[in-house]
Symmetry: C2
Subunit: 262 residues, 2 copies
DNA sequence: CAGTGGTCTAGACCACTGG
DNA sequence: CAGTGGTCTAGACCACTGC
């Protein structure tokens, strides 16, 4: 941007005196982080891809390897990148075996997730709807906007455990159908990456204990008077953009919601 | 100390060839981290204290500042240390205002935690008991060992919200009484630090939805048929030693359990 | 073997705190 | 102002991967 003597490649640095109102000081590595983030968001580098090596990025951004390193450190801590020694640094994806179901915190009382086999998914419904006020507020859209609503049932070991309603912005997920969902094996978020270019980065959950409603207990094949765990999730993509609202009802008689506090 | 010319302080480094069986390679900074951890565990540096400066530790351990820095980075990420630019690095404590109730994930539907005022605590019971099989298994003690059991009620804005049963190893918490607990203002874990030298470092929670039992709904002043959030926590001190089992029943009609997934 | 990320060092300088 | 943590650099070497 400026006209200095050396900078053939535009330089990311911008830490000189601004004259007024200290701009809160953003260190170089954070600016580099921002540049990498922009590449991720623009799908320049896609989930599963290797990004350029630290040395290459250092040359490109005209900073030292250590500075690039610190930027990547933070992105790896945020689960946006994955480092593999000797191989390179890769864009994180929900498709990897190890971190599959990163956002599903329900685990069986006995054994672990592998012992109960893969989840069976049954799509109950998938329809176009208009956003109600609560959905609109959660996803920062206008009420009345076109949405996709999915209802599905997750079973483990042949037993229905989770009943979920999912709301997605119609624009971003145009073309998503019940058939497409039913055909899918593997995590829904992995499919979102490959089919719609939407990568879920983080999520927030509000958890409550509620009494099952008749329809819910029927679908989960439970007695009328049952306590269920209500899990309301908002999932975000890059730049904290909310892209999914999900309301799950969890049976917790043979599973529990596991949380680690630190 | 010793009489040699240079190595007055023993050197932590141990990365030369061991001859056989590669010892999994632990980098220098991780060994430094272990040494610092040992000082924390031995209460050499106590919660709230400043630890020696990075330069001082680098001299003491005979490594570069950068290596100490990386060790401290990890300890800060683990919430064991807190860095304050210009002031120093401090041993983390549950007494600090900002991170008080780090482990309490229940927040009000409207407003935030400050808006409902401080929690009122009422100790219902505090007695010496013997560990049952489940408590013993959770805390890695022998069943029959001496334990302290505390039952208390937490209220927000005058309304009872949480009923908790707490089990503590009798040995470590000798001298803890209902009077001591009732007198206390502020987080229980802060008192554990100052009075018993026990610092809770991390915790695991198992969360379920259950129907309230008559005794529980009575204490919480709720109708008989109510769903409650059951939160079973095991809290750990240094070296992953379990030091507390806690079973909480949470009302979730005006509050929710908030969790962030990333 | 070359290429990747990972560690360690030494030194310079910056931002922040408190006396 | 001195002392703290925070940033940035440059260079050396190590551990790991895959050809």
């Amino acid at each position: 941007m400026s006209s200095s003597t050396t900078a053939a490649v535009p330089n990311a640095i911008d830490n000189v005196d601004h004259g007024v109102a200290a701009p809160a000081f953003s260190p170089l590595y954070r600016q580099i982080k921002g540049l990498i983030l922009k590449n991720l968001q623009a799908a320049e580098w896609r989930p599963g891809d290797a990004i350029p090596s630290e040395m290459e990025l250092a040359r490109r951004f005209r900073v030292s390897q250590g500075t690039v390193r610190k930027a990547i450190d933070e992105l790896a801590a945020d689960n946006l990148l994955v480092r593999r020694q000797g191989k390179g640094t890769f864009v994180a994806t929900h498709a990897e075996q190890q971190v599959q179901y990163r956002f599903l915190k329900l685990v069986p009382d006995q054994g672990d997730r592998t012992s109960q086999g893969p989840a069976e998914r049954r799509i109950i419904d998938c329809k176009r709807v208009r956003a109600g006020v609560d959905v609109a507020r959660a996803l920062l859209v206008r009420s009345g906007d076109a949405m996709l609503q999915v209802r599905r049932l997750l079973s483990f070991g042949g037993e229905a455990v989770i009943l979920e309603d999912i709301w997605l912005p119609g624009v971003a997920f145009k073309g998503l159908t019940a058939e497409r969902l039913s055909a899918d094996r593997g995590p829904m978020y992995a499919m979102f990456e490959t089919e719609f270019g939407v990568r879920m980065v983080r999520a927030e959950e509000k958890i409550r204990a509620v009494l099952a409603e008749p329809e819910q207990s029927a679908l989960l094949k439970l007695p009328a008077l049952t306590a269920l765990l209500s899990v309301e999730r908002i999932a975000y993509t890059y730049h904290d953009k909310p892209m999914e609202l999900r309301r799950g009802m969890y049976r917790t008689d043979k599973h529990y919601y596991r949380n680690e506090l630190q």
